[in-house]
Each structure stands twice: as C-alpha cells, then as structure tokens.
C-alpha cells in the first residue's frame, strides 16, 4: 500500500475537545464516562457524552444541517489548526481534488427520534424536519464537504463500528487511483436512543463504566465522538514527528450479524493483512490499540486473535474505558489516539480495568506509561462481522 501522511487531525470525545485535552486525560488516566443523563433515558448505564452540544446550534447557511451529529462534527473540525490545514491543502490541490470519505453508524437519527415523538394527528412528521441533511447517512458527508468548501469525490461509509477505519482504506485507494490528491477522513457518531436501547436489547450495556479485558467486564459504555484527519502523499509538510498510514487490512467474519467469531479468525485476518500491506512483521509493532469494547464475547475473540498473531509480548490496551465505545466513530478515535500516542511517546492504559481476565494471554497494559512508539496497530470491528485494522507509524 502507498504510504500516506496524516497532515493534521482533530478530535472531540467525552475527554474534551482537541489534542491537548485528549492527551492530558490519557496521561492522567482520567476516564470521561459518567452516569447516563442523556435525554430522558431510563437506563442504568454510563455514557461518554460530549458536554455542551445541546447549546451549540448550527446557524445561518448551516441551519438546515443542525442536529447533534453535525454539531459534533463542526466542533471537531474547529479544534486545533485543522481548518487552517485544510485551507492550505485546498490552496495546494484545489477544492475538487480533495475527497471527503467519512463514516458514521447512525448519522443524525436522533433528529428523527424527536420528530417521531412530535408526529401530528395524521402521523406526519413536524414541518421543518430535514431528513436529507440530518438523518440520512450521507448528511454528515454533505455537511462536512460543504463546510470545508471542498468539491471532490465524497461518500459516507456505514459499516457499523468499523466505519471510520474503513474510510482510511477507501481514501488511500482513491488517492492511489488518482481520483483525488488528498482526502478528509474520519466521521462522527452521537448519542441517540436507537443505539442506547438497541445495545441494551442485546444485553451488552454495562451498568457501570465499561471495563475492557477485565475478568469482571460486563458490557459496553456508549460514547459519542467526532474526529477527522487530512491524508495526503508524504511531502515537505511532514516532519519527523508526523504520523503516517503505513498499511490497512479488511476482512469479514462470515459468522453472525451481531456476535464476533469466537476464534477471532476474521479479526486476525484483518490484522495480518494490515501488517502485510505495511510490509511489517508482528514483532515490529510497538503497541496495539484494541477494539476492546468490554463485551464478554468481543474481548475474548480479540484476545485470541491478538495472541495468535502477536504472541504475548506486544503491549496492547483498549481506550474504551476513557471514551466509551463511540460506535461508528471508534475507528477514527482509535486512529487519532494511536497517532497522539506515537507523537507523545505515551502508551495509554485502561481506566476501570483492574484485573485482566486470567483466560487471556495478550500483553494487556493496565496503566499508561512513557514509551517510544514507532509503529502502532489499531483495530475496529463491527456488526455484520466487518473488521478493519490500520498500521500507523512515526515518519522518522
């Protein structure tokens, strides 16, 4: 695979807005999970809620796009220098040569949940409800492409919890095929009743904060997040501290719609293909950012896959105890946390995880520590048995 540079990236999770807040929480081992106060949901659960979204309306030209998911996207785009970096890329390549490949699982469906509660006596949705620009899966892509004043190829990938990893692969292929010169990747997923009650119906939502890889883990904590990265071919803009996309691997479980293959064969295959694309041996990976959502079956399957491929020497951890499982955004959250870990020389730990499942054999890192990380692998797996692994590395 052609190596690409992450020229810039931006992130908002329950840990805070921007890179400094995220890094400070990771270093301090501070989880952002709190008891669920979202909406009026009578659920005993912890969530990773981004504060203040209710109060930050999109206005003017962007008012038709106003919904929680697009507000979250706008907040992430505004962090650090991301808008300026995109403007520079726009000047360098032209707006039509920058693609926008984003991921989400539920887009702005919260808007429709509210609209359904306000149907009139004929059953019609309230006037002013804008399906295309809020609920539709592409609404996020439409909003971000317009907001960044870009006019290159675009679509939204919606492969459940692997969506914002797979966009890296699509973008890399598009750039390689010459359909664009650079790409905005990433995406957003925001809290809504559909996923909170949906995962609850599957019996996989923990009452307390999620505890990935813990012997006493009992389910996920749902979070919300938006993150974006600018991908382009390596150039002068990438210094030695820059993070590169070295490889990616994709596979399907062919097992079950909502349960992982217990043997972790699909997950192992995605990781193996990512290593192969990067031309690396397993021993050349310094840290694995696991999908690790804290479900009984999911963590066991991933541990098996990681142990099979990497043995018990490569340190790994899931950062879902910090952010919650941000579903469709989990891929970009994992990728950006991995990039921050590489740049900051810090291997993140796993808040709320106290005793690693004794059945597991991977080298799970409970506490964060300083470490020089040259190359990191990050995992995202989703419903439908879709798996995607990315390998990121330091430029020099």
């Amino acid at each position: 695979m052609t190596v690409l540079g992450l020229s810039d990236f931006s992130l908002v999770t329950c840990l805070g807005s921007g890179r400094a807040n995220t890094m400070s929480a990771l270093r301090g081992g501070r989880s952002g999970l709190l008891p669920c106060r979202f909406d009026t949901l009578p659920l005993a659960a912890y969530v990773g809620e981004v504060p203040g979204l209710d109060a930050t309306q999109l206005t003017g030209e962007w008012a038709p796009f106003d919904c929680r998911n697009n507000r979250l996207a706008a907040l992430a785009l505004a962090q650090d220098e991301f808008l300026r970096t995109v403007a520079q890329a726009r000047a360098r390549y032209g707006a039509a040569r920058i693609g926008v490949f984003l991921g989400t699982s539920t887009s702005g469906i919260l808007q429709t949940e509210t609209a359904y509660r306000h149907r009139d006596s004929s059953g019609a949705l309230p006037p002013g409800f804008n399906y295309a620009r809020t609920h539709n899966t592409y609404a996020l892509g439409h909003f971000v492409r317009d907001y960044l004043r870009l006019s290159g190829p675009a679509f939204v990938v919606s492969t459940a919890c692997a969506a914002t990893s797979k966009v890296f692969v699509s973008a890399a292929r598009m750039i390689e095929a010459g359909l664009c010169d650079a790409a905005i990747v990433g995406g957003a997923d925001s809290l809504c009743a559909t996923t909170l009650f949906g995962f609850h119906s599957l019996g996989v939502v923990a009452e307390g904060p999620c505890r990935p890889f813990d012997a006493a883990r009992n389910g996920i904590s749902i979070g919300e997040a938006a993150g974006f990265a600018l991908l382009e071919k390596p150039g002068d803009q990438h210094g030695p501290d820059s993070v590169l996309l070295l490889g990616a691997g994709e596979s399907s479980d062919a097992y079950h719609m909502s349960s992982p293959d217990p043997d972790g064969k699909g997950a192992a295959r995605a990781m193996q293909l990512a290593l192969q694309a990067a031309g690396l041996a397993p021993s050349e990976i310094d840290y694995i950012n696991l999908h690790g959502t804290a479900t009984l079956a999911g963590d066991a399957s991933e541990d098996r896959a990681v142990s099979h491929l990497f043995g018990n020497k490569i340190p790994c951890s899931s950062t879902k105890g910090f952010t919650g499982h941000t579903l469709g955004a989990s891929g970009i959250v994992a990728a950006i946390i991995s990039a921050l870990a590489i740049q900051g020389g810090f291997l993140p730990g796993s808040p709320h995880t106290n005793h690693v499942d004794p059945e597991f054999s991977s080298a799970y890192a409970l506490r964060g520590r300083t470490a020089r990380l040259q190359r990191v692998l990050s995992n995202a797996f989703g419903f439908g048995g879709v798996n995607c692994s990315l390998v990121l590395g330091r430029a020099a």
Partner: protein, 271 residues
C-alpha cells in the same frame, strides 16, 4: 481515468426481473411491461436468517447472486461494495415507532438489521465470504459513489462486485424522502478482460455539474428520476444495446462522472 471490465449483471426493478429478461427491454427490442418487483427470498441464507432478513437485504442479495452467477466468479474471494441511498426503511420505522412509544424496548434482531451494512453482513454469512466488504451512502448519488469506490478497488488490481439498491420508506418517512420503487442492480467487475467480460468501462471524474445527465429509455426514465439506485439505468441500457456509447452521470451536484462503454466485440475493447 480508470477502466474496468464488466463480467456479470444482476437487476431487479418494476418490470425488470433479472438481466436476461430485462436486457431486450432496455435495448428497445422488447416492449416494457410494468410489473411488480419480484424479490426471491435469498437461497443463500438458511431458512431462519431468510425470514429475519429485511426486504433491502433480500433485494441486494438477489441481484448480487445473479451477477456472480453470470460472471462465474467466486463470491468467496471477491470483495463487495454495497451502496444504498438510505437505511432499511421498515426496520428504522419500526425502531423509531417503538422509541416514540411509552414502552421503548427494542427487538435485538430489528436492531442489528437496522445497520446500513446489514446486506453486506448477510452476504458474508450466506456465502461464507471472508474478503472485505464496504457499505456506502451518498444520498441520490449512491450509484455513482459505488462505481467510484469499485473503480478504485479495480485500479488496485482486484476484482470487485458492486451492489446498489433502494426500497421505498413506509409513511411517514416516505413523505419526507419519496423513493419511486424498489430497485436493485449489481455488477461484477474485474481489472482484466476474461471469457466472461461483457464490456469495458472507462470512467472519468470531472469537476463541474453535469450539464445533461444521460436519460434512461423513455418508458423507464421516471424510475431513474425517482429512485437513486435506478440512476444506473442509462448504463444498463447502454450495456443491453451492446454498442459503444457514453453515459454521463451527475455526482454530488458539482461533479460529472462519465462512463465510456466499449462492448466486447468492438475493436479495441481490450486496449
């Protein structure tokens, strides 16, 4: 500019039940007769999965199976690109109705069927395919988006199948998002010509709105105008006519995707 070879076609739409039956209609050699979309329950799925699978899934799997069967290529090792202009309408309506009611307990099956990649998941389970799949949405331009993603995969020197489908939403969602009729199509595509190749396709993506998107044959153009997946009809008609031609597609209102079609017997089709 990228190019690819079409090895197999699947099609289901109003009066278009299968490629073999539909090609003469699309080529203008047989009369079009509007008839309901026949979506066979997918034989790939075990009986219990088939029953639980929503209509979009059965439609997508039917056209995918038809295209693969025509191509002779194995689904086991061929990556797939699924694309739809929206979600699984009946399933999402069911979830939203439940969430608006006092008793907000969802069905777990309905929840996993609600994901945009449900069709890809069922396809992988049904065929046993462990290769990559992706599932896209670009609203009205979801067909063009799938074609671009598929072309980029073919450019990476691998065969790929693309499956594009839409099913109308139930009320009240259909009032804010009208979709003409159920429509599904699939293409199996490869980087090199083979015995199964029907035509060569050259794609060019240009900035600027499409001045004149190619229309579908007259009786079918209302489908193209009302159903995003049916924006594939001009390409399908060109393939059915088996003549060199050019099809222009509108993409995201400010780009144009041009498809140059060279049928198999034409000179230079392999070049």
């Amino acid at each position: 500019m990228t190019h690819l070879y079409i090895e197999g076609i699947g099609l289901r739409g109003l009066g278009l039940n299968g490629w073999a039956q539909s090609a003469p209609v699309l080529a203008g050699l047989a009369d079009y007769a509007a008839a309901p979309v026949e979506v066979p329950l997918c034989p790939l799925l075990p009986a219990n999965e088939r029953r639980r699978a929503p209509k979009t899934v059965n439609l997508a799997l039917a056209v995918a199976a038809e295209a693969f069967s025509a191509s002779g290529r194995s689904p086991l090792t061929t990556p797939v690109v699924f694309s739809s202009s929206g979600g699984e309408g009946e399933t999402i309506h069911g979830i939203l109705s439940t969430l608006a009611s006092p008793q907000r307990e969802l069905s777990p099956t309905r929840f996993h069927n609600s994901v945009h990649n449900a069709a890809a998941g069922y396809w992988s389970i049904g065929t046993g395919a462990t290769s990559a799949s992706t599932s896209l949405c670009a609203y009205d331009d979801s067909f063009a988006a799938a074609l671009i993603e598929a072309a980029a995969q073919v450019a990476a020197n691998q065969p790929v199948a693309m499956i594009v489908y839409d099913v109308p939403y139930p009320a009240p969602l259909c009032l804010v998002r009208p979709i003409g009729a159920a429509f599904g199509m699939a293409l199996v595509l490869s980087p090199q010509p083979s015995a199964a190749s029907l035509a060569r396709l050259d794609l060019t993506l240009r900035p600027g709105a499409c001045a004149a998107p190619t229309a579908a044959p007259l009786t079918l153009d209302y489908l193209r105008q009302s159903t995003p997946a049916a924006r594939s009809l001009p390409l399908l008609a060109a393939l059915a006519a088996n003549m060199a031609s050019v099809v222009s597609l509108d993409y995201l209102t400010d780009m144009t995707l041009t498809l140059q079609i060279t049928p198999r017997p034409a000179p230079g089709w392999q070049a």
